[in-house]
Amino acid sequence: MLKLLTQRRLLVLSSGLLILLLLPVVALAIGDPYLVTLFTRIVIFALAAVSLDLIVGFGGMVSLGHTAFFGMGAYVVGIFAFHLQDGSPFASWPFVLDGSDNALLVWPSAILLSGLMAAVIGALSLRTTGMQFIMITLAFAQMLYYFFISLEVYGGDDGISMWSRSQLPTLNLGNDTQFYYLCLTLLLLFLFFSWRLVESRFGRVIRGARENNLRMHSLGFPTYRYQLVCFIIAGAGAGLAGALMANQSEFVSPNLLHWTQSGEILIMVLLGGMGTLFGPILGAAVLLLMEEILAAYTEHWLVFLGPFLILVVLFAKHGLYGLLVGQEVNRD
């Protein structure tokens, strides 16, 4: 897909990267540090959207339950922080596990647990396809949503308020600029990983299964297993995004798992252009900026956002990224 980097595409990508890299410098120069916060959010949601693009765009698995993993990642960070503040151990059996704000312990746990969750949900959901797949993933996300609401120890619907962000050696994540660059680095790493993945033999099987599952299967590929692995990777990616989100807002609540959040991440993927990996980043940026700008003009901003989404679906078939690079994005 990216082997033919046209000049125009190269221009779009490098200017996008440049904007993201220079943003904090510019924000400080014009005296608007809030831009860094806003773009941290964009980068985090972009990470979640890229992970969703892996299964939706390349795997053809339309999941309306991606926030299950996003929320799971966030809750792992929140729960560790809660036990640190509370002074009570997280678990006393089979071994004592205390609360922690060490990112090197907490973030990988978040990724691992989200991945595990994705393994379970994926294994069950992948028995279905199409509309049923959309609904069963939604069902699992809803279960988790109600589960966290009923978790009284961890604040239920009120959620967990964290005292500070996670700790990393040498970096100070409490500093917005450093935190932003860390999120950006993680996004770029995940993007690179995803790009290698879809270009590999694994990626070709996944895409083949999207077009014609039966054929791939009869060619001897255990497509179910391939799809499941893809689903797990996407879930783990969303878990990382969730862990970052918890750190950004220093707060975790079941609201992160609400089905409209899943819808919002899907919109980012589609808005940017699905099956493009870079598109979802653009989608996240445009959607969040639009919310921000429209809300500043009118309290009834949703009445404009709704039709805008419809127009994008109807007229920008390959998303904004497709419009920008100026040609039909070859999804294969």
């Binding site: 959010r41 009923s150 807002s249 707060f251 309290e299």
Partner: protein, 388 residues
């Protein structure tokens, strides 16, 4: 990078210098305008704005600029807006949050950053107790207060067997805990319903079977409307009296409930018929400005603005000395529309709480009439946990 920092420093100085001259004091209002609960934020905002308009855009003689943003009932959105107020607009005073879950996300974060937050509605228990903060003031109530009033009323009225229900989430649990703190009789049932449940027929059937003396319920917003309508349709309102907190009986909700709510006794710190000059002025002005009867949310928004006005006047609009500003707010040197008002040690209200009854007026509308004072100078249950 160096140059950038230098530039900010210079810019920062420039802005700081201007502020002292003529810049209005910025107030950031994070509130809920969209979603089903949007009318709550609308009333808080309108109450707050009314106080400003009555002074010609000033509060306590100090020019102010009010910024309002919709949190959409999403905690992380609330945090984002608060971040913008702090970082982009340099806001030092915030208010407006309607719901406890948004407050729990926003308040601890902003008060850590030396922003004064005045709560016009939400009063979750941690913020009144363990997490209390010198920068956090609550001008409405601690979440349990109005439920406690209903509990005390149930005890006074001699009810001995009550059925109580609330949604299965923290505010619901707090509500029933608050109620039970002052209710001394037996419980015929204690039920937690699903959050956002719309059909209560199952609960009503079980309730009828339990045959209690009265029913206490806390179901905010649309949930309460559904419950009341279905309660009346099941023919229960003729037989078993209902008690609740004021939240399900504000004048805007009552219009949507109709006859089904008539006769319900509910606990509130304010009603539009409270007999004091400040209240009469407020109710008349609100009617004139917006063409509707103010709800208790509007009264709380108005009080928040008046409290702030009194403090700004004392410090003459100078926000640079935070200690002075906090001390000025703590004095609560304003006439609240609810009558007597002062802050307790945890900077939550010490106030009288009443029981009111829903009645149908001569012109076919529905409203509340104050029936009885239940508590005098009521202090919330968490004040002792607050170490300030």
């Amino acid at each position: 990078m160096k140059y950038a920092f230098l530039a900010t420093a210079v810019l920062g100085l420039g802005i700081g210098g201007n502020a002292l001259a003529a810049e209005p004091v910025k107030i950031g209002m994070v509130t809920t305008l969209s979603t089903k609960a949007g009318y709550l934020g609308e009333d808080i905002r309108d109450g707050f704005k009314l106080a400003m308009e009555m002074e010609g855009g000033k509060l306590g003689g100090i020019p102010v600029e009010l910024m309002v943003d919709d949190d959409g009932l999403q905690p992380d959105k609330g945090v984002q807006i608060a971040d913008r107020y702090m970082k982009r607009d340099g806001v030092k005073i915030m208010t407006g949050i309607v719901f406890s879950n948004v407050a729990m996300a926003v308040v601890p974060k902003v008060v850590r950053n030396d922003v004064i937050y005045i709560s016009p509605n939400a009063g979750p228990s941690p913020l009144a107790g363990k997490l209390c903060d010198p920068n956090y003031f609550n001008v409405a109530w601690q979440n349990d207060n109005l439920h406690e009033a209903a509990g005390q009323y149930a005890t006074d009225a001699g009810y001995g067997n009550l059925y109580i229900l609330a949604p299965n989430y923290p505010a619901g649990k707090d509500a029933l805990t608050g109620f039970k703190r002052y209710y001394k009789g037996k419980l015929a049932g204690e039920v937690y319903t699903k959050l956002d449940q719309s059909d209560y027929s199952a609960e009503l059937a079980a309730l009828r079977a339990a045959n209690p003396d009265a029913v206490f319920f806390f179901l905010p917003g649309g949930m309460g409307i559904n419950f009341l309508k279905q309660y009346a349709q099941a023919g229960l309102n003729q037989r078993i009296p209902l008690l609740g907190p004021a939240f399900s009986f504000d004048e805007r909700l009552l219009g949507a409930v109709g006859d089904a709510a008539v006769g319900v006794m509910n606990g509130s710190q304010w009603t539009h018929d409270l007999d004091n000059a400040a209240n009469q002025e407020f109710v008349a002005a609100f009617h004139k400005a917006y063409g509707r009867t103010p709800t208790l949310y509007a009264s709380q928004g108005y009080d928040a603005a008046r409290l702030l006005a009194s403090a700004l006047k004392q410090v003459n609009g100078d926000l640079s000395d935070l200690n002075a500003l906090r001390a000025a707010i703590r004095k609560a040197d304003f006439t609240s529309v609810r009558g007597a008002f002062k802050f307790g040690t945890n900077q939550h209200p010490v106030q009288d709480i009443y029981i009111r009854e829903v009645v149908k007026t001569a012109d076919g509308k529905y409203t509340n009439v104050t029936r009885k004072k239940v508590f005098t100078n009521h202090v919330d249950a968490y004040a002792a946990e607050c170490k300030m």
